[in-house]
């Protein structure tokens, strides 16, 4: 049996091709794991906002978290360099989850800093990726939206804790923000997918923060213009 037919040559080439792909997946997994670690650290940092004295130190927390996104950008750059431009969606499932979480963290940070909705562009910039698919490793729209839905849940919790910490302003701002998010999502024609399922949760977040505003209102604690809103 002669072992150098053209067929064998062809197949030897295929073999290295297939092995290269397996190796690439392994490398992706490693970088993604590092990204998850960084995301966890940023989240731990931002969690402090729920604590009694956390709300008073928002600006410090934000600054620190903001600077931690340097690492995110580095790691995502490292990741994006591994992925050929046109194969983003081939491996998307590997980083889909962590990029949703990072989007959430970016949006949370933005809200804490300015009480505003972070745009997709700003999120992409903070993460160090592109918005437009044609420019390279991008922030998929659905991943960004998923991040926003996680945000609404976090803010409902923050509304509760800010009252406990004696701040009656924040819940009102949160209520307004979550209401706007809700209106926004209603504009979308979501299919029956994971996005839709999470959107159903937003309704409850909205109800929760509205209830808090109600609680404040009936007790005359809802801050009017210029009031301090401190209940302690």
């Amino acid at each position: 049996m002669s072992n150098t037919t053209p067929a064998t040559d062809i197949f030897a080439a295929f073999r290295s091709h297939l092995e290269a792909e397996q190796e690439l997946r392994e490398e992706i997994r490693v970088v993604v794991r590092e990204l998850e670690q960084t995301a966890r650290e940023i989240q731990t940092e931002l969690q402090a906002v729920h604590q009694q004295n956390g709300i008073k130190n928002i600006s410090v927390l934000c600054e620190k978290s903001y600077s931690m996104f340097d690492v995110v950008r580095e790691q995502l750059t490292k990741l994006s360099q591994k992925i050929p431009l046109n194969q983003y969606y081939r491996f998307h499932d590997h980083w889909r989850f962590v990029i949703q979480r990072l989007s959430f963290l970016a949006a949370f940070l933005k809200f804490l800093q300015s009480e505003q909705l972070i745009s997709r562009e700003d999120t992409a910039n903070l993460l160090g990726v592109k918005v437009d698919k044609n420019d390279g490793f991008q922030l998929d729209l659905e991943d960004y939206l998923m991040g926003l839905l996680t945000l609404s849940n976090e803010l409902a919790r923050l509304a509760v804790n800010s009252v406990t910490a004696g701040d009656c302003f924040l819940p009102v701002k949160i209520a307004k923000f979550v209401g706007e998010l809700d209106s926004g999502f209603r504009l979308l024609n979501l299919k029956n997918d994971s996005l839709r399922k999470r959107f159903d949760g937003l309704k409850y977040d909205l109800k929760k923060v509205e209830e808090i505003v109600y609680d404040l209102t009936i007790r005359g604690l809802k801050p009017k213009d210029g009031a301090t809103g401190d209940i302690n």
């Binding site: 024609n189 109800k207 609680d215």
Partner: protein, 264 residues
């Protein structure tokens, strides 16, 4: 499209000749099916949009105008979407193609009955649904139906057409309505509305009791009972919350407070 020329097959064979006829018949049916699926998908999308629109009634300054907009959109769906469906189904056993468009019909019933509930606070009847779906004469020529007509069986002289709404589709539409009512109720509760959640709660209980009497007579309906029960439970919890919140402040004060609260 003529794709049968130059076949490498032996066209003199009687088997092949028979199968060429079968091919035409199957293609005719499949194409009709495909067109109906596409129409059904359009109806679904439009109905979903109407439902979204109707949800904006919560906290709206002019609820009546939202209802008017919805009614107009419903009329458009009837005339531009259901009329072509009716034309496709003329002289057919409607049950042959029902799977193709049942999803659209159900979503439309969901939208229409939601509109009715908001407007008249009651359940629509099957007759009322059916009433809007009688059509006279062929469609006014429009660009996107020309092509369709060319390969449908030619439009017969008989001018009246309708779409059969089966009782099962009607009930399934109502079952899905309960989900929207739940959303309405939660949104209203969120906006501090003290009436809507309670009336929705009563209404849902009536529907649930109605559905309960069917038992397992209709599997498709039974499948939705679990979701219905969950929706009801959510509404009941919302009412409970409103009730218990309301306990902390005298009724007459509450109205004042809330009217200022929702203004802001």
């Amino acid at each position: 499209r003529k794709r049968n020329n130059d076949r490498p097959v032996d066209t003199s064979s009687p088997v092949i000749q028979a199968f060429q006829l079968f091919q035409d018949e199957l293609d005719l049916k499949h194409n009709k099916h495909e067109r109906l699926v596409k129409m059904s998908r359009d109806i679904t999308i439009e109905s979903k949009r109407i439902i979204f629109l109707l949800h904006r009634i919560v906290g709206a300054e002019d609820p009546a105008s939202i209802l008017d907009q919805a009614l107009e959109k419903l009329k458009i769906v009837q005339q531009t979407k259901f009329h072509p469906v009716a034309m496709e189904l003329q002289n057919e056993d409607p049950y042959q193609f029902i799977r193709a468009y049942t999803a659209g019909v159900q979503e439309y019933i969901e939208a229409l009955s939601f509109y009715y509930y908001l407007k008249e606070k009651r359940l629509i009847t099957l007759e009322e649904v059916q009433r809007d779906l009688f059509f006279n004469g062929p469609l006014v020529e429009q660009d996107d139906c020309k092509q369709m007509k060319s390969d449908t069986a030619e439009v017969k002289g008989d001018n009246s057409m309708s779409i059969l709404i089966t009782p099962v589709d009607f009930m399934l539409g109502l079952a899905d309505l309960t989900g929207e009512l739940m959303r309405l109720s939660i949104n209203s509760a969120g906006a501090g509305d003290l009436d809507v959640p309670f009336s929705v709660c009563d209404f849902l209980k009536t529907i649930q009791t109605g559905f309960m009497t069917f038992g397992n007579l209709c599997k498709e309906v039974s499948k939705k009972m679990y979701t219905l029960k969950q929706s009801l439970q959510k509404v009941e919890t919302a009412c409970y919350t409103l009730q218990i919140r309301g306990s902390e402040v005298p009724k007459h004060m509450l109205a004042d407070i809330l009217s200022t609260a929702t203004m802001s």
